[in-house]
């Protein structure tokens, strides 16, 4: 039993933690068992992320192969499932280069930061009922805050590499990142308002109807915004191979490169998990008490597949198109969504908490989304039509010109 003389802990609610703690405390001092239990949980999480990232990389490569009408990695292990391990070992054995003019400390810290922020994000995600490491009451905000740490890491990578392409990539990536932060946050506000909480667990429980239906606009915006923040096609200008080699991680090799890749795929995994939590009802499903983790996993894989599908379908956008999309389409849409949700929550008697009310909101929001998205898309298409802006006067917002000193 968790004894009070070791103090209250945020992990108290976590059944896994309690299990380990109770087991350990039977023959160890409480502080030590506390430490052990925490460490075990963290180990599980870190490994889950890294292994998940590996699995996703395999899955995506396979999927892309199918989309490309080819087979994809299939040599190592059944269906090529061990391909990621092989890649990892290959990268591990390669030389770990640091460019001559690099800022060594910053350069080395980048992969750590990147993986760190991904792992930190997992802390608040409820994989099943009461299975979040920490069901923070500011969970959504926490997620956004930690994900914004990536921006610093990006810049560190770009700057410390002492490479023009890396810097370009970083500048592009950060510009995209901080721009898309705005519509993403605004779109999540609708979800938070209906749920009445920023705690992810509460949000899952509040989903009488999956929020993908209640907040279709928010789902669309969040998906697009997160694609951009993860530097995924069609928003992957930060590492556009045909333009700036590999962007901010041009100079990274060996294990550092492996970590960066792991962080990228881990990011996809975490974001997919978050989308599952926020919009797809999380662990909800038949026998959620026992099979919650399964539903959660299935939904997450579905979202990852969706990401891969998007990646396989769309060509890369120009940076100015990306910026224009953010400020001219996503921001207005997120404001429309916010305003609509506010009014609905305000006028519905229980602030949208009951099933009936959420169905009412579905009835309003779904047509709204179906009208608004194509409408703004049409507007955007007209803006982005080639030749619509004179070539010499092309304005590229968000991309600073780098001084050549």
């Amino acid at each position: 039993m968790f004894t009070s003389h070791c103090g209250e802990s945020i992990l108290r609610e976590n059944p896994l933690f309690r299990l380990i703690y109770d087991g350990a405390s039977s023959f160890l001092p409480c502080w030590l068992s506390y430490l052990i239990a925490g460490m075990v949980i963290m180990l599980i999480l870190v490994n889950a992320v890294l292994l998940g990232a590996a699995a996703i990389s395999w899955m995506e490569r396979r999927l892309l192969g199918r989309f490309h009408n080819r087979i994809g990695p299939n040599r190592w292990g059944p269906f090529g499932t061990l391909q990621p391990i092989a890649d990892f070992i290959k990268l591990l054995t390669k030389e770990d280069l640091i460019p001559a003019g690099a800022d060594r400390i910053a350069f080395t810290l980048v992969p750590i930061f990147m993986v760190l922020s991904v792992i930190l994000m997992t802390a608040v995600i409820p994989f099943a009922k009461d299975t979040a490491l920490a069901d923070l009451n500011v969970g959504v905000l926490y997620f956004l805050a930690v994900s914004s740490l990536t921006a610093v890491a990006l810049f560190m990578a770009g700057w410390s590499s002492d490479n023009r392409y890396a810097l370009f990539g970083a500048a592009r990536g950060v510009a995209v990142l901080i721009s898309y932060e705005v519509p993403v946050v605004l779109s999540l506000l609708g979800v938070v308002m209906i749920a009445g909480s920023m705690s992810l667990g509460t949000i899952v429980q509040a989903q009488q109807v999956p929020f993908i239906l209640v907040q279709p606009l928010a789902f669309f915006l969040f998906l697009a915004g997160m694609s951009a923040e993860l530097n995924r096609t069609p928003f992957d200008v930060a590492e556009a191979e045909s333009e700036i080699i590999a962007g901010y991680h041009t100079e990274y090799s060996g294990i550092k490169f492996a970590l960066i890749q792991a962080a990228e795929f881990g990011g996809v995994l975490v974001v997919a998990a978050l989308i599952t939590t926020l919009f797809l009802g999380g662990w909800a499903g038949p026998f959620a008490e026992y099979l919650g983790w399964l539903w959660f996993l299935l939904k997450t894989i579905l979202v990852v597949a969706l990401f891969s599908w998007i990646r396989a379908t769309y060509p890369r956008l120009r940076i100015d198109q990306i910026m224009g999309f953010c400020w001219k389409v996503m921001l207005p849409l997120s404001l429309i969504n916010l305003a609509a949700t506010t009014l609905e929550v305000f006028f519905l008697p229980d602030s949208g908490a009951t099933t009936v009310e959420q169905w009412i909101m579905v009835g309003i929001n779904l047509p709204l989304a179906l009208v608004c998205v194509p409408l703004f898309g049409r507007l955007m298409r007209e803006k982005a039509r080639p030749g619509s802006s004179p070539a010499g006067a092309r304005v590229v917002p968000g991309v600073p010109t780098i001084e050549s000193s």
Partner: protein
């Protein structure tokens, strides 16, 4: 001493050393880029302090705004100007600055230590702690349970605690500064736009 308090003290000292060290680095390091990274370190340490002081919302906001936005802005500004590597030079006011900073520090320390603070009574501590921790939520049933277990909750207090939240304060008694800050932000937005606009383009 409770285990929790020991953990708190250790974390506090670690954070203090980290924050002060990083802050010293910010003002002393010559490489501006490293200075910004150290500044981000200060911000993160500060977020840690906030968690320690049961201001979770502030901690998250601190990370989101300071680390995620302000540091990035600083980096952008540094990149757009020259002389990053050797940019953080001291000016001629070195000696008076050291002198005055030290004097101010001494005065502040004197004030901090000599003042008889009107500390929160022990009875109310748990309630305050919970109200602050749960500052963004209406208190969850579990939290109220904790409160009641601590025996610090009368019926009236329970009502208050259920209602206590940053948002209620912001929309309630502090609504005027809140609105003023909103206007300030709008003005800053427009001002920033006007300033960043290249000259010659109307």
């Amino acid at each position: 001493m409770l285990f929790q308090d020991i953990v708190q003290d250790v974390v506090f000292w670690v954070l203090s050393v980290a924050a002060i060290g990083a802050a010293l680095g910010v003002v002393l390091v010559r490489d501006l880029f490293r200075a910004v990274l150290l500044l981000a370190g200060v911000f993160i340490a500060m977020a840690g302090f906030f968690v320690l002081l049961s201001a979770e919302f502030l901690a998250v906001v601190q990370v989101l705004i300071y680390v995620g936005a302000i540091s990035i802005l600083f980096i952008f500004a540094i990149m757009l100007t020259r002389n990053v590597r050797q940019g953080n030079l001291p000016n001629r006011l070195q000696i008076p600055a050291v002198l005055f900073s030290t004097l101010l520090l001494a005065a502040l320390v004197v004030v901090a230590t000599s003042t008889e603070w009107n500390l929160i009574p022990d009875g109310a501590k748990t309630g305050v702690d919970l109200v602050q921790t749960q500052s963004v939520n209406v208190l969850s049933p579990e939290a109220l349970e904790v409160l009641e277990r601590a025996g610090a909750l009368s019926d009236e207090e329970r009502l208050q605690a259920e209602k206590a939240g940053l948002a209620d304060l912001l929309i309630g008694p502090f609504v005027l500064p809140f609105e003023a800050v909103s206007v300030l932000l709008l003005a800053a937005l427009i001002g920033g736009l006007a300033l960043a606009r290249p000259p010659g383009r109307a």
